[in-house]
Symmetry: C2
């Protein structure tokens, strides 16, 4: 083991001019940051690089000099501006060579897929630096690389999120466990709605600055409320005390912990109240409530979401046991945003009005979460 | 003017441990990358930093030594881990001082908002380095900073997307125009659907590597198809030739250029065919088709989207002139993904089956775009 601190020093490189030009949002960085954090490898930093061979080579050289683990995504495609292979080979001082086994796999993949024949440009994806092990990509044409040289591990994965995620889970995580001494991090989250970050800071006193021995605390404002996050590399039980304190201090503002989410809680509350199917009707929110409910996994005993209508069209409401109505009102003369929420059908909730903080798209998402929070509160 | 190249050298710093820990996806980076590119200021690189005063100070010092413009977001909140003000002040060698005017604005903001009284922690947001000009934040409590010292401009903006975007448009863009000689970039995009990146590369020959004098070309795979992007700092007319060549070479694979999008084109095609209102019914896609249609701005002459149903529930289909049906089938034994698409109602399209590339969430989004592409093709 060559790591010198208690855990590997890690950094992330996201490669692609399309990321810097804002053509694509880098969701891979958040996925990998969270996945590494769970393994006990917090990212020390992340960089986004253009499709420039010299810039990529220099960033790999810098990162290899500083860190025990360098994870990179993107730039493994077949086109002329996919230069991650070349950049890393330059940083390693190695020459790319065509790998006959990879070339064979590429040909087989194209033959089997029924998606058309292989293009000559795809042959670039069979290039490999001698010190790199190939990482299989069962759902795409770009193999990844695992390079363990000079005490530093470099991992290359494709930029396509689904391909990266599968390669990460199947190929990279097991290798990391074998290569590094990992001390997984335990995390607990306390989730609130309807109270601001500053108000929470004042309410919880020193809980955030001094959450206990070996415990770190953070506060994060999300559209589904402000979350308090406690983590430790020690025993999970060390988190019990700060979580209990947070629950006691924030009390009725808390809707759940850890994986709880407002949409699942609202559907569970409706199910508990005897509602089998639920639809939605929303105005001024561009279908955000619907998109959130549609993306929520069904659970036993919860109401089933069947769909919804937008912006007060005159179409009939879908037939369902209950309908959640949400109207996000225009900003008033005092700059205040309000939402009107009610439930009708076999079960009904009289109209309530809630304040909605935020602006732009965020205002719409927060209005949708406010509606779900109301439904959850109304039938707990 | 202190810029030494033809355009300002610019880089981006995204500040917040929540970004590195994957608690939050950094959508600001893409917004700012695109906005800067349109102004003719391509980002040379971007970094994500933890809430660590020394790391922030060092990153600002590095960036100021290298670049003419440093844009940073995040870390301007009221809590103990919001350290961007301190980090930049350290890099500048300046001491933070409370700005009485900013403090007064904060107090007024809280008094007027009706959203509760100001917390003591908010007073940190009135701190300012002597060389910084405050940038107004009309929809949040964190003012931004504009620092122009030693020939380098540093801009600090809040991490909350809506606050950042408004401050960018109203406060930063005009100052950039006054401070730098900007040569706006002209961009044309050719958008295809149903053809892969490698196949396009082979079809267009040297168009991507040699798109013409002073023209740059890029190819980007998105869920709504593969886009070819041509840009120039010269005359816009320099893009006519490569765009025409791309349109001719890719022919029936092209659905539009520039701001064209599949959902608007599908709704326009339906409207042209006499459909006033349209609903959707989808299975296996978690409401992705619905979310895309709901987020599409209504246009004169286009069909109006009224909402939809999910996953074959037995609720009645919303009453509409036409209903788009999409079923994403499970992956078959050959690893192939297929979608079944039809349209019923006053107007009808017999069922067609399409191949869907991609995996995970991407598979669902691509199925939704495949449905919209079919509708568009069917009634052009």
């Amino acid at each position: 083991m060559t790591q010198t601190s208690d855990w590997p020093r890690a950094e992330l490189l996201s490669i692609g001019s399309e990321l810097l030009a804002g053509e694509t949002v880098d969701t891979n960085a958040a996925f990998l940051g969270a996945a590494l954090a769970r393994l006990g490898i917090p990212l020390l930093g992340a960089r986004t690089l253009p499709d420039d061979r010299a810039a990529i080579a220099s960033a790999f050289a810098d990162a290899r000099a500083r860190s025990d683990l360098v994870v990179a995504t993107g730039g493994l495609g077949p086109t002329h501006d996919d230069l991650t292979r070349e950049g890393l080979a330059d940083a390693l001082g190695e020459e790319l060579q065509s790998d006959p086994a990879l070339e064979e796999q590429l040909r087989e993949r194209f033959a089997a897929s029924g998606f058309g024949s292989m293009q000559e440009s795809n042959l670039r994806q069979a290039l490999r630096a001698p010190s790199a092990q190939a990482l299989a990509n069962p759902i795409g044409s770009a193999p990844g690389w695992w390079v363990d040289r000079d005490g530093v591990v470099v991992v290359l994965m494709p930029g396509v999120p689904a391909e990266m995620r599968r390669m990460w889970e199947e190929q990279v995580v097991p290798r990391l466990g074998a290569r590094f001494v990992l001390r997984p991090v335990h995390v607990r989250t306390v989730k609130t709605f309807g109270i601001g970050e500053s108000a929470i800071v004042d309410k919880v006193g020193d809980l955030l600055t001094d959450p206990g021995d070996g415990v770190e605390a953070g506060i994060y404002a999300h559209d589904d409320g402000v979350h308090l996050r406690f983590s430790t590399r020690g025993e999970a039980a060390a988190l019990d005390a700060p979580v209990s304190r947070a629950l006691a201090l924030l009390d009725e503002h808390v809707y759940g912990t850890d994986d709880d989410d407002l949409a699942s809680l609202a559907l569970a509350a409706l199910g508990h109240a005897g509602v089998g199917s639920v639809a939605s009707r929303e105005t001024g929110t561009h279908g955000v409530l619907l998109a959130i409910l549609a993306g929520t996994a069904p659970a036993p005993g919860s109401a089933t979401y069947v769909g919804g209508l937008l912006d007060g069209g005159d179409a009939a409401t879908p037939s369902a046991d209950a309908v959640i109505h949400l109207a996000l009102l225009p900003i008033d003369a005092h700059g205040r945003s309000r939402g009107r929420i009610s439930v009708s059908g076999r079960i009904s909730l009289p109209q309530v009005e809630v304040r909605v903080h935020g602006a732009g798209d965020q205002r719409q998402r927060r209005a949708a979460y406010a509606a779900l929070d109301q439904v959850r509160r109304w039938c707990p």
